[in-house]
Symmetry: C3
Subunit: 159 residues, 3 copies
Amino acid sequence: MEIEAKLHALGLALPEPMRVSGMKLPFAPVRVRGNRAFISGAGPLNADGTLAEPLGKVGADLTLEQGYAAARLTGLVILGSLKRELGDLDRVTAWLRVFGMVNVAPGFTQTPSVINGFSDLILELYGTERGTHARSAVGLAELPLRIPVEIEAEVEITG
Amino acid sequence: MEIEAKLHALGLALPEPMRVSGMKLPFAPVRVRGNRAFISGAGPLNADGTLAEPLGKVGADLTLEQGYAAARLTGLVILGSLKRELGDLDRVTAWLRVFGMVNVAPGFTQTPSVINGFSDLILELYGTERGTHARSAVGLAELPLRIPVEIEAEVEITG
Amino acid sequence: MEIEAKLHALGLALPEPMRVSGMKLPFAPVRVRGNRAFISGAGPLNADGTLAEPLGKVGADLTLEQGYAAARLTGLVILGSLKRELGDLDRVTAWLRVFGMVNVAPGFTQTPSVINGFSDLILELYGTERGTHARSAVGLAELPLRIPVEIEAEVEITG
């Protein structure tokens, strides 16, 4: 429970599963197969699983700093999904691939600085060796439900 | 041939390979390595391999319902590619990752409801255990040839 | 050193690591785990690691041909990262997945012809068997630092 102890020490809590009414979502938040876990695209949520505001486009509805905070919150959402699927976050032995998508206003190109909110959290919790990941951080035309950030990932786990 | 029997029972046929003239496509529809199969981004096709209309942007040129139908058709295209590569669709032992891209008109954010056309088909054919997948469903600025939907995926296969 | 000999014969050199000031990039260009190497999204660079011009959107700031050249240059950037990580480019035993993102002007849909600049280079160097890959080539709303092309990939390597 090393990772959860760290979360606790940082004063961070994992949110409840996403609670969005009237929307069919026929897929798994995390798909595990052998030592591989594929993580579905996730966005920022409040502690109770409702969508975290502000919604909209970074560079218009959100500042860069608000985008960074949304990406960090998305990290907690993904850790919450991993915790529910794996039981213990220490079972993640390596972060592999992170695909960071930013809901951009036209002309907003500082997408890496937004997704840093996610990467910084993962490195803070897992350290350099386990936490290092390959990454893209790019600007999307639209994201579901007007979330400002969506992140999908792949991690290696132990049985 | 369980999956093909199901397709037959549902009255669904797998389309021919994509037939687009004057376009060099130096990549494989499916790349197999060991028990992993990577599926290239595919869009909706008619039975003869030509592009399925309507083309364009969901939320402007296509309704949500037409987008759903395009995503379901894209599922048949991908199954056609897998059938040609693997010989038998029963060799797919687990759907792992689905990345759904919707060609969006500005402001169209119901991308998950579009990509459900794909996920619903896969779950219908493969059932929950094999068919469940991690997924993202996002809005792209432009897609090749103005296709309304493009989906790439990774599946696990048996030798 | 077969691949490097081919690069030399073609008169191609691998650029230095990306040199961008004032930007925190908390991730690895290549993440290796077992026989898998995940390659972070990369864009075109000059030999000294600075951003290669022209920057901007294909279909407005760049022609299709300039986009193709940018994608080919991105291939050299990725090979440079793999060389630094693996020591020898011959250790890449199979290209698996290529995700090609084009910074598009509205209405530019010839994204596959742009990303061909990357695929053609890889096939030229690695041949059909090792070089064949699954691929998507799509249009993004914005890319970091206004780069015209960004490509991420996964390859199989030998120990």
